[in-house]
């Protein structure tokens, strides 16, 4: 592959991202601008931004890689990532917007009036964010190595740096513009080369993949473990989407509940269009680049295909794909960092205010820090941990490793949101117990999996925990809430009015 084109593509995307980010800086002034773009983002802009933020390295590179390696059964990943928005739409979108909260910890506090739940949710937001950032940073390293031959740490550090500059300088408003731009860039970057690649493939006489039946056909030899894995992935992705911090924070930027619903509907369309494409790359990859499987570099198939099929005339297309991939790392990482930093920043600002009120000013006479400063400090801080991990931890296929983040979100935030919105009986002790149970269940999986014999049959329960950890989270949350019925928040009726009544009804929302 021609390294010059690739480098130019990366530089252009990085510059465009920083420029659009700076454009946002001039108009972000208040804390509300910083956190939620003053809640005035129109549905089309907001949906493009959600699409841009959501379509990560796992979608842009990972799906094609998995399809190349494992075939038809991997098509469940993009289906799950899209269906997750459908469930978000029907169970969460409008009430979440109407709750008026900035973040999931905010929602927990509004609904349950409990600091303990708030803190538990904060810890989980950070953990989910780190789990999701790690594969993005690693994917960036892989991309830069594939394109330029530079060592993997270069791409990893580059993405982390741009993300921090972007978030620190502009906050959510600039991120919204950046994300919207990046959805359309990513779609174009996959669509245009796909057209040329398919034409060349037809010119070749449209050869078949020559792959074994277990690649072509889902469940060629039906087995219990295969079905368990597919259903577990389904549960994790269907229910995890609503709990991802960078997805949830986007709903606060809608003007009202109706806009939140319309935004989600447009997102469903944007994702559906996008996810038609990775399958094409995966299938063509099986025909032209099946050696990547043995080389253990299946995630590179999208980037390598133009050269494999078109030779050096594919270099420009490869550069476009590189730009798209880089956009994927930048947008998802920015969104995640923004949302995680938003949560930590609020905690910092709160503890600052608290200390000032108590009179003991640990930070000198000025006491505490403003929430915008807190956000900036938190953004820089919360990138460091996944950056360090990305440089040290062994790499997994990117689509597999984001599934851990989905499973964790599905086991913790999904029960919290769904029960919090639809069930008056939820109590603070119940919520904390459920978050802990689901969190330990799904959170331990990525930690212990390296220590387990890979051939063990029960390994799949560790690799794909969602099928048991999600029911566990729901079950514990419901059971403990029922056991602590006296702790149902006193204001729950007023909160339900706020969550469920349309803005057109002039009611006291508490």
């Amino acid at each position: 592959m021609n390294a010059t084109y690739g480098v130019v593509a990366v530089v252009l995307v990085s510059l465009a991202t920083l420029t659009i980010g700076a454009f946002g800086l001039r108009i972000s002034r208040t804390t509300s601008d910083f956190y939620v773009a003053s809640r005035s983002v129109r549905p089309w802009l907001n949906s493009s931004a959600i699409g841009g933020e959501y379509l990560s390295a796992a979608s842009f590179l990972g799906v094609a890689g998995l399809v190349l390696a494992f075939g038809a059964n991997m098509l469940w990943f993009p289906i799950g990532w899209t269906a997750g928005y459908l469930l978000l739409l029907v169970f969460v979108a409008a009430p979440l917007r109407r709750s008026g909260a900035f973040t999931i910890p905010d929602f927990a506090e509004i609904r349950l009036q409990s600091n303990a739940v708030r803190r538990a949710a904060t810890v989980l937001v950070v953990l989910v964010g780190w789990l999701y950032l790690l594969p993005q940073f690693q994917g960036a390293g892989l991309t830069i190595r594939t394109v330029t031959g530079a060592p993997t740490w270069v791409g990893t550090v580059l993405v982390a740096t741009i993300v921090v500059i972007n978030v620190v300088s502009g906050g959510m408003r600039s991120i919204t513009f950046v994300q919207a731009f990046q959805y359309w860039l990513k779609l174009t970057a996959l669509l245009v080369p796909a057209f040329f690649l398919i034409r060349a493939w037809i010119g070749d006489g449209a050869p078949g993949p020559g792959a074994p039946a277990e690649w072509t056909l889902p469940f060629h030899a039906p087995s219990g473990p295969d079905l368990y894995v597919v259903y577990s992935v389904m549960i994790a992705t269907f229910l995890g989407t609503m709990g991802l911090p960078h997805v949830v924070v986007r709903f606060y930027t809608n003007p009202d509940g109706h806009a939140a619903r319309r935004t989600t509907l447009i997102v469903l369309a944007l994702l559906g269009v996008f996810y038609l494409l990775p399958t094409i790359y995966g299938a063509l990859g099986r025909i032209y680049a099946s050696d990547l499987i043995d080389a253990g570099r299946v995630d590179a198939v999208v980037l390598e295909l133009p050269h494999r099929i078109l030779g050096s005339s594919g270099d420009l297309l490869a550069a476009l794909l590189t730009a798209g991939a880089f956009a994927a790392f930048l947008s998802t990482s920015s969104g995640l960092t923004m949302s995680v930093a938003g949560v930590i920043g609020q905690e910092l600002a709160r503890s600052g205010r608290l200390r000032r009120r108590m009179g003991s000013t640990a930070l000198g006479e000025r006491g505490g820090i403003s929430s915008v400063t807190a956000l900036r400090v938190a953004a820089a801080g919360c990138v460091l941990v996944p950056l360090a991990l990305a440089l040290t931890v062994q790499r997994l296929p990117v689509a597999t490793s984001v599934t851990f983040a989905f499973a964790l979100a599905a086991s913790t935030f999904c029960p919290l949101l769904v029960l919090g919105i639809w069930w008056r009986g939820l109590t603070a002790p119940g919520a904390v117990a459920g978050l802990a149970a689901g969190g330990v269940g799904a959170g331990l999986a990525p930690l212990v999996r390296t220590a387990i014999d890979t051939t063990a049959t029960w390994r799949m329960f560790v690799d794909y925990p969602a099928a048991w950890s999600v029911p566990l989270g729901f079950g514990v949350m419901i059971a403990v809430s029922l056991a602590t019925r006296s702790r149902v928040p006193t204001r729950v009726s007023r909160t339900m009015v706020r969550l469920h009544t349309p803005e057109g009804a002039h009611l006291d929302r508490g």
């Binding site: 098509l75 459908l86 072509t216 056909l217 559906g272 399958t279």
Partner: protein
Amino acid sequence: MTEPSDPPPVEHRVRITSPRTGARPHVRRTAREEIDQSTAVGEVYIRSLMRAQLRSALGILLVLMATVGALPAAFAFIDGLAEFRVVGIPVAWLVLGVGVYPGLLLLGWLYVRRAERTERAFVRLIQPGSTTRGQAGSGQRETQADR
């Protein structure tokens, strides 16, 4: 001739009244006031709104489980289904790679239509005669069509 003082043998109506001065006077509240004052009636309004919305959501979930959720089992257990080919492409790839997405969008569209209709009905119920202010144009057009 009958004596005027004679009581009529039947059909003497006795009005029985009670000086229930301690009873609360009947107050007519609007639905809005019921909700704002968290009365039992107000609770019923909110609970019925929530139940209607939850029913729409669970309906979508059920359809999703019965269609997309049943696909893995269908491919695994129905012999020949996965091998079935349309213009040379296994039907599994067409369904999983293409067909599912318009289906998801359709479900989402159906839900939004139903949920917004429920909300407009709720606004009309608690604010009779009010226009559905604060909603976007498409919503208002549909409101008129509903009438």
